[in-house]
Amino acid sequence: MLTKIVRTVANQLILFIVIFGLYVIVHGHITPGGGFQGGAVIVSGVVMLLAAFSSQELKKSLRERVLTIVESSGALIFIILAFIGIGTVFFYNILVGTPIFGRIPAIGPGPGDIWTGGVIPLMNFAVGLKVIAGLSAVVLALALFSGGEEVEE
């Protein structure tokens, strides 16, 4: 556990990190970024919290069980999004042309439109969820284990 200044700053900073990470995830299909990158940004915030506070402290708010459930559901959303195309072909981008994320941008360089990309933004979101939960669980488990505590079953 670090000094009070660090803890206070970390407490305020985490909000911006999470917002930035979410921005990267949500705009993955129009600007550089995506689920993995945004998820990694948010997990870096978790690591910052881990450095500022102790792992015991963080364990109270981030439960191992919840993280596992979130991670599994992120992976499930991803594979189900791939499965819904199976009427045509697995991974078929079925949402292109539909009202949900289905617009097609102007061909060639131009301003981005958030409602484009078909299943890509949804998949980005699912992957982001998965990366946040998964990597937080790994980081937390490693920190707890170094402190002499083992993960429950």
Binding site: G28, H29, I30, T31, P32, G34, F36, E64, T68, E71, A75, F78, I79, A82, F91, N93, V96, F101, G102, R103, I104, P105, I107, G108, G110, G112, D113, T116, G117, G118, V119, I120, M123, N124, V127, K130, V131, G134, L135, A137, V138, A141, L142, L144, F145, E150, V151, E152, E153
Partner: protein
């Protein structure tokens, strides 16, 4: 003995690698790019995504990304498996 063998092998390997990469096309000027040109031209129309890399990741090579997400899932499961307590707590059993 081991040091000498190691150095010889290492030098041979690095020589081959360096020689090999000089045979690759000059940096910044790929020889063939049919597949990538197709993707860059058609990705907006086919997937509606402005970000071509995202289009490749989630549409053209979607199974790779699924595999990648799976690997992350595997690693997380593996880490939690290896760091688990090897004895059950009394109240759970």
């Amino acid at each position: 003995m081991r040091r000498v063998t190691g150095w010889i092998v290492l030098i041979v390997l690095v020589a081959f690698l360096v020689w090999g990469v000089t045979l690759v096309h000059p940096f910044g000027d790929p020889d063939a790019s049919a597949m990538d040109d197709y993707i860059i031209e058609n990705s907006q129309e086919e997937t509606g995504s402005n970000n071509v890399v995202a289009a490749v990741l989630f549409d053209y090579r979607g199974l790779d990304t699924l595999g990648e997400a799976t690997i992350l899932f595997t690693a997380v499961t593996g880490v939690l498996l290896l760091l688990r307590a090897s004895k059950r707590k009394k109240e759970t059993s």
